[in-house]
């Protein structure tokens, strides 16, 4: 019996090795209505800093394809980058590697799923397959990228979760498979472009927002997701650059909560216990709900200023009830859709539409303007 079970287990593991990237996209739970947020950039300082290689061929070809159905037309109209018509006669295959460890990623997946639907139209003839990775683990992402190369995808879009994936990205590029990153970037790799927030600028913006809220003095605690995720580090370091200019601002601690509400809750309580006169908490990544829960329990809503990122439901609720003072968006829908569109356009035209950075909007939402962005 034991031998039979061991044999079965071995067979399952071998089949798992062979299956590689070919997993079907996860079925979503509740479908969120795409937010009709205003896409005006509030902060004019967050300019795109990278070179853009403009492809005149792509610009010429970016005409709307004929006869899209109404729902596909709706998706097409939402995109900030438009896909060109596929006149190569080839069917393309693009892999999208995404992590799903908190509710932020739901909006990213929304973008990926909608572009997948659009790309499946005969005008584009492109198959988009999403691979879900269980955690921000560079090793897991690197292995997935290598598997996608083996599976001969034409392009790969991935979260630049850590520098550990750089060799895998470079191998894919050397194999002729362009790689696009989103949400978090690996600048030192051969990736074509990055779609996401100007993360360092976002950190600077968050730092400036906190400085305004606490009048340039007081104790600040920083809760980051992972020290190893470039996106989280850029946001943290961007804010630190601002805080370093103020002698009267004291950083009482920098901890990583692994995007966990549970750890965020525990750390918030400990920070406030250790520093009853704490002025602000800055959260660079996930675990926002744990922080607001702790503040709510301690009945100090509004006394400790909280600045965080993203526009999940629980964050908007916290804005409305005054638990947090500002949140900075990063357009997760565009992070899901844009890299696929850019990768597809490169496959069709043979040239990348954008090289470098494709920064998404840096909207700052506060209790004063939350009703404009998310009316209730």
């Amino acid at each position: 019996m034991k031998k039979l079970f061991s044999l079965l287990l071995t067979l399952v593991m071998v089949m798992g090795c062979l299956s590689g990237c070919s997993s079907t996209p996860p079925t979503s739970g509740e479908q969120q209505e795409p937010d009709e947020a205003v896409n005006e950039t509030v902060d004019e300082a967050a300019d795109e800093s990278a070179d853009k290689a403009e492809d005149t061929n792509a610009a010429d070809k970016a005409a709307e394809p004929a006869a899209l159905s109404s729902d596909l037309q709706e998706i097409y109209d939402k995109l900030t980058h438009k896909p060109v018509e596929n006149d190569t006669g080839k069917e393309f295959k693009i892999a999208v590697l995404c992590v799903m460890n908190n509710s932020f990623w739901y909006d990213v997946v929304d973008g990926i799923e909608e572009i997948t639907k659009l790309m499946a139209d005969q005008a584009y003839n492109c198959k988009v397959e999403m691979v879900t990775i269980e955690a921000h683990d560079g090793q897991l992402f690197a292995e997935a990228i290598d598997n996608c190369v083996t599976m001969q995808y034409d392009a790969i879009c991935t979260v630049g979760t850590s520098e550990a994936i750089i060799p895998a990205v470079d191998r894919a590029t050397a194999a002729g498979i362009p790689v696009y990153t989103f949400n978090s970037d690996v600048k030192e790799s051969t990736r074509v472009s990055f779609t996401g927030q100007d993360l360092y600028a976002a950190g600077v913006k968050a730092g400036e927002t906190i400085v305004d809220l606490i009048d340039g003095k007081g104790k600040v605690a920083i809760i980051t997701g992972y020290f190893t995720v470039p996106a989280h580090e850029d946001r943290r370091l961007g804010a630190m650059e601002v805080f370093d200019k103020y002698d009267e601002i004291e950083i009482v601690g920098e901890v990583e909560n692994h995007d966990s509400n549970d750890e965020g809750y525990t750390y918030t309580k400990d920070f406030i216990t250790a520093n009853p006169d704490l002025s602000a908490i800055y959260i660079t990544a996930g675990g926002q709900q744990g922080v607001t829960k702790a503040l709510d329990e301690l009945n100090i809503k509004g006394e400790v200023k909280v600045v965080m990122f993203d526009f999940m439901d629980e964050v908007i609720d916290a804005l409305y009830d005054g638990s947090i003072q500002a949140t900075i968006g990063q357009d997760p829908y565009a992070q899901g859709a844009n890299p696929v569109c850019l990768a597809y356009n490169q496959l069709v035209t043979g040239k990348p539409e954008i090289e470098g950075n494709d920064f998404t909007n840096l909207d700052v939402v506060t209790p004063d303007n939350v009703a404009e962005y998310f009316p209730r």
Binding site: W105, V109, A274
Partner: protein
Amino acid sequence: MEENKTVEFKTQKRPLIKRITGTSEFSVFVALLILIIAMSFASPVFMTPTNIFNVLNQISRYGIIAVGMSLIIISGGIDLSVGYVVGITACYCAYFSSETVNMPWPAVLIVVLAMGALIGLVNGLIVTKMNIVPFIVTLAMGKILSGVTLLLTQGRPIFFNSYLAMLGGGYIGAVPIAVIVMFVVVVAGTLFTTKILTGRNIYAIGNNERAATLSGIKVNKLKCMTYVITSTLCALCGIIVAGNLGSADAALGKNYETDVIAAVVIGGVAMSGGEGTVWGSLIGAAIMGILKNAFVLLGVSAYWQSIVIGIVIVVAVALDSFRTASAEKVHRENAAKIAKETAKREKEQENQ
């Protein structure tokens, strides 16, 4: 009739104070006291009631699971799925209590605890009936549970509002209910392992499984029971954690097994089985909890936290090994003394 000669051994009639100070739990308890005293001087807020109850609340989740993990490790096993059981039961607790399902809270409590027990039963049966090492079985189970949790939550937190939340977020006076639950579980676990024959038999299994079998102990049944108890306690912890936050998501419980095993080892439970106490594991959990609290109160860089915890674990295990080696040395000396006395008596008899 010959006079019965008694041979005095070092371990006979040891003074009470020596019996207490000779246990590994005592040395860990002393370490805890030193840590508390040091922190009292290092941070003015450490001994405030707010911080004490915060720390106890944080310890409670590891402390509850550590009771079960102690039983498993004492019996010679291991369970790497505890964190994942916490995660899945927390998510199902939130799901059943949410507006989508809206089950009454007593039903949710029973169903979630039963879910934990069932997971433990599956673990135990695979370990005992199929004779597969617990490390592999529970590791695989953890992965399965992680996937099921993601399927349920789809990566999103599940919010709920239920009386069950009181277990995690409620207070009796200034004392968190979770802390009271932890102490009840620890007392129950201590009584089980010291006063009840079934609990004592777990030590026999850990010491020598074959001898335990030959002496009539139902080894497989008891081993299975330890997994059921542990996973049920994990389910209880899942309810507490979900109640504390008012929500549950797939990240809950991640890496709990590392901290729980560390707490159990620091508390004096031997990884080889057969030794250790439930209340020792509580002391181990307290040390881990106070260390993590200390890092924030003293502003220690997060980069150093893992290093310090790792060093504490190694030192605790090393001290325990040293104490075990010393005890074994005493046993060997006693055995040699008995053999020498016996040989001397036999020679005297021959000469007579």
